[in-house]
């Protein structure tokens, strides 16, 4: 599988790219002028690494090596296998577009704190993927968390950013500790921490359950699974926009990689009940994430919550793949796994696009609140078009790329009733219904976001005076939009490109090229279900053009501009149009009362009084209350109590030491 020339090239490529990133980081700390070089260097490094990853993925090979760093007897083992290579393609694509975007940013005070850390963040993510032993994995995972934390608190004078950094640090620490336990369980009594040693002896069922739980906590908290999601909507918006794009679009995928590495590779052959936690938590995350998103009024926070939903969808797909693999239904497992992998790729593209667009809006108007925007389609025309592509893609609407992975996932769910275990085949309809609800809520959410921010009339002075962003940022967004469109049309070939990887993991793959046209996507076999995006897009294009021609021939072509229909009460103020919270009101009435105990109160002054009326909405975040605030209070109480131990007299300390000594001697006497 490895040719010597390929190995040398790979090592050379990897080393040089990482070296470039290190140089960039160092340069950034040195001089102001060197700051301008950081992003181009990062972009170059991303291209080199991405090309290497693509080559490994397509040739189904692997590269490995070891460095004499790290723990004394073990060293640092590195391996780039097709799974790592796929995620590497995803990550480096994100780094490339974020760097392109960064090239166009102004060099202000803030960037001095961002630029040195950006290359370290990018390098750490790449290194997590190639780590081949537990030590390396955890070290680079922590490096990734810390560098992104530093990026989140770059705007350190902002209390919101500080609070976000605080919560993020806690959750990252929790995640790393869980992963530590997971790897400990995997290494077992023999204590071999390299991945080869772990693969050689898979753990028994009880230990496997504990490892899976720890992995779900560790990787799930980094990805944003409910109930470990609370840091995501705080941290992702607080960071600068291109960094948010990386955190949302790409770092969450590293978390997915971690889970896949443990559940599909290191733990050995799966049992059927492993599927239940990811599927159930994933479905809950998908619906809850969007319920949060649809009720939130900050543009970037809505995008962060939507990331939570997509991570949930990916976990559902991975859980289904585990269930099918455990029952040896390799065709269905291939469908589910391809859905998961394609969704990883698609989400990184459209989420990065949306965050870069949000960054553009923030840069142009200085505002992030949806109720202060509006009418940007006229003042920022190109950003508006690109953001529209992203919004339609994330709502899983054909013929864009979001629908390809969504369609495959639905096909996998539709194969769910064939599973023999009762809890799985009863869960399948429930999961299907929740995914359908999530898809519809995603469309509602992004119609709301796009409609409030870009359409309508400007609701504030800043929105009315916005201007479009510079060329570099537009190119970055344009590349991503083009990828979204191409990814939608070329879903079949993309799935075919992934089939060696899928076969490696679950033992089967999608029927490549078995469909009626060369570009169609076939789920099980052509008689059963086929989705052919190019044909459907062609039909729609032909229909649109035909309609345009015929209508223009037959109809009156003049148009006239006039005022909007106002029912006889002309409203000169743009404040009378629907705001983001008005749009959310039906959804708040239907879902908010259940999920968030939403209460709306209107206080009206008595007639004749000219004071303003007040409308207030109270939403309770039950997840925060139960899983964060309550344990935090408990921990604080406990530590206050234990604090008494700090103030004992010397004699009491001696008593403690004496007691410990006596107990240990007693145990040694009795129990050996």
């Amino acid at each position: 599988m490895e040719r010597p020339g390929q190995r040398v090239l790979g090592v050379y490529g990897l080393g040089s790219a990482l070296g470039v990133l290190a140089v960039a980081a160092i340069l950034a700390t040195l001089t102001q002028a060197a700051l301008a070089l950081v992003y181009p260097l990062c972009a170059t490094a991303a291209i080199v690494l991405g090309a290497l990853d693509l080559q490994v993925l397509l040739s189904d090979g692997s590269l490995s090596g070891s460095l004499p760093l790290g723990l004394p007897t073990i060293g640092l083992r590195l391996r780039l296998d097709p799974l790592s290579a796929f995620f590497g393609v995803v990550i480096n694509g994100g780094v490339l577009t974020a760097s392109l975007y960064g090239v166009g940013l102004d060099r202000i005070e803030l960037t001095r704190r961002v630029e040195p850390l950006f290359p370290i963040f990018a390098a750490a993510m790449n290194l997590v993927l190639v780590a081949d032993d537990a030590y390396g994995f955890l070290f680079f995972w922590e490096l990734m968390s810390l560098s992104s934390w530093a990026l989140v608190v770059a705007r350190h004078t902002d209390p919101e950013a500080r609070h976000a950094g605080h919560v993020y640090l806690m959750m990252a620490a929790l995640g790393t500790v869980s992963l530590l336990f997971a790897f400990g369980g995997l290494a077992g009594p023999a204590g071999g921490y390299s991945f080869d040693a772990i693969r050689a002896h898979p753990p028994g069922p009880a230990v496997a359950a504990l490892v899976l739980a720890a992995a779900l906590i560790g990787c799930g908290s980094k990805g944003g699974l409910v109930p470990l999601h609370a840091w995501l909507p705080l941290a992702h918006p607080a960071a600068p926009s291109h960094v948010s794009a990386l955190m949302s679009g790409v770092m969450t995928k590293v978390a997915i990689y971690g889970f896949m590495r443990i559940a599909f590779d290191l733990l050995g052959p799966p049992s059927w009940w492993w599927a239940l936690p990811p599927v159930v938590l994933g479905a809950l995350t998908a619906v809850l994430g969007l319920l949060y998103a649809v009720l939130d009024r900050d543009l970037k926070r809505v995008l962060a919550y939507s990331t939570i939903e997509n991570v949930g969808v990916i976990f559902v797909a991975l859980g289904l793949a585990l269930a099918f693999k455990a029952n040896a239904f390799s065709a269905a497992a291939a469908v589910a796994l391809t859905a998961a992998l394609l969704h990883v790729l698609n989400h990184s593209w459209f989420k990065s696009l949306l965050f870069l667009g949000a960054g553009a809006v923030l840069h142009a108007t200085g505002r992030r609140d949806l109720d202060g925007l509006g009418g940007l389609i006229r003042t920022m025309p190109r950003t508006a078009v690109l953001f529209l592509v992203g919004a339609l893609a994330i709502s899983a609407l054909p013929p864009l790329n979001g629908f390809v992975s969504e369609w495959l996932l639905f096909q996998a769910v539709l194969a769910g009733p064939t599973l023999p275990q009762a809890s799985l085949h009863f869960a399948a309809p429930a999961i299907g219904a929740m995914l359908a609800l999530a898809a519809a809520l995603a469309a509602a959410c992004f119609v709301r976001v796009y409609g409030t921010a870009f359409l309508g009339r400007p609701r504030s002075v800043e929105a009315a005076q916005a201007h479009d962003v510079g060329a570099a940022q537009q190119v970055a967004m344009g590349v991503l939009a083009m990828l979204c469109i191409l990814g939608g049309l070329l879903g079949g070939p993309l799935a075919a490109a992934l089939s060696p990887l899928v076969t490696r993991i679950v033992g089967g793959a999608l029927a490549a090229g078995g469909g009626p046209t060369p570009l169609s996507l076939v789920a099980f076999d052509a008689g059963r279900s086929v989705y052919d995006a190019p044909v459907i897009a062609l039909f729609v294009a032909i229909a649109s053009v035909t309609t345009l021609v015929i209508v223009h021939r037959l109809s009156e072509r003049r148009t006239r501009r006039g005022p909007a229909w106002d029912c006889g009460f002309p409203d000169p103020s743009p404040a009378t149009q629907y705001t983001a919270s008005s749009f959310a009101q039906p959804l708040r009435r239907v879902y908010g009362t259940v999920a968030f105990s939403a209460r709306e109160t209107v206080t009206m002054p008595p007639p004749g009084d000219r004071a303003a009326a007040r409308f207030s909405v109270v939403l309770v975040d039950h997840a925060w209350r139960v899983f964060y605030a309550a344990p935090a209070r408990a921990v604080l109480d406990l530590s206050l109590r234990l604090n008494a131990l700090q103030f004992l007299t010397i004699r009491r300390y001696l008593v403690l030491m004496f007691g410990a000594l006596v107990i240990l001697l007693a145990i040694a006497a009795v129990a050996t």
């Binding site: 009762a422 809890s423 009863f426 259940v594």
Partner: protein
């Protein structure tokens, strides 16, 4: 044989749907009508089983179910409700949506359970058992999520309907057992009606939450 199975399956399925309809209704009169519909469907199901499986004693069961539970008891309860002047709306503990979702989960549970415990050879009877168990559980659910004493009576009797359906699907019941069950139902109804009337006279309400507050041993 296939047609017989299809029709009994259809009737049992209609009974299940009507049980859901009972949970969905907001007014007492509608709940009583749904219960009457359920009992009539039960009578039809039992009569069909009698005809297609050639068990004439089940015809008597069907007639008793039709007369007693399909006609007499709903009419009597309608009269009781109007005489007591009971509030027409059913007080709810949980919303309609939540009750329906829990009902769906109970259906899934009963199906999973029956698949586990009954042998595959039982075949058709196994499906009837699953549907009947679901109807019993839904009747029980009705008793706990609605605050009205009349609807509790209805819930109890709908549990009875489910039990009769289950017994029909099994080996059928001897006549004497059926008669005693019918009489016990009648007596239970009398007792309930008398109690309800008394309670209403005494406390001016039959809302069991309010009644609960008036128990002596509560603090």
């Amino acid at each position: 044989m296939k047609l017989a199975y299809e029709i009994s399956h259809l009737l049992a399925g209609v009974m299940l749907v009507v049980s859901f309809a009972q949970l969905y209704q907001q007014r007492i009169a509608a709940v009583l009508n749904a219960f009457a519909a359920q009992s009539i469907t039960l009578a039809l199901a039992v009569a069909w089983a009698a005809w297609s499986e050639d068990r004439p004693d089940l015809f008597i069961t069907a007639t008793i179910a039709f007369l007693l539970k399909g006609v007499l008891i709903p009419v009597a309860l309608h009269r009781t409700v109007t005489r007591l002047g009971v509030h027409r709306e059913v007080e709810k503990v949980v919303g309609v949506g939540m009750a329906l979702l829990v009902g769906l989960a109970l259906c899934g549970l009963s199906q999973a359970l029956v698949v586990k415990i009954a042998p595959v050879s039982a075949g058709l009877a196994r499906d009837e058992l699953a549907l009947a168990m679901a109807i019993v559980l839904l009747g029980f659910l009705m008793m706990i999520v609605r605050r009205n004493a009349v609807t509790q009576v209805v819930g109890f009797m709908s549990m009875e309907n489910g039990l009769i359906l289950a017994a029909t699907g099994a080996q059928g019941m001897p006549l004497v057992v059926e008669v005693s069950v019918a009489f016990s139902v009648l007596i239970a109804l009398f007792v309930f009606a008398v109690f309800v009337f008394r309670i209403r006279e005494r406390f001016d309400t039959i809302d069991i939450e309010a009644l609960d507050r008036m128990r002596g041993d509560r603090r």
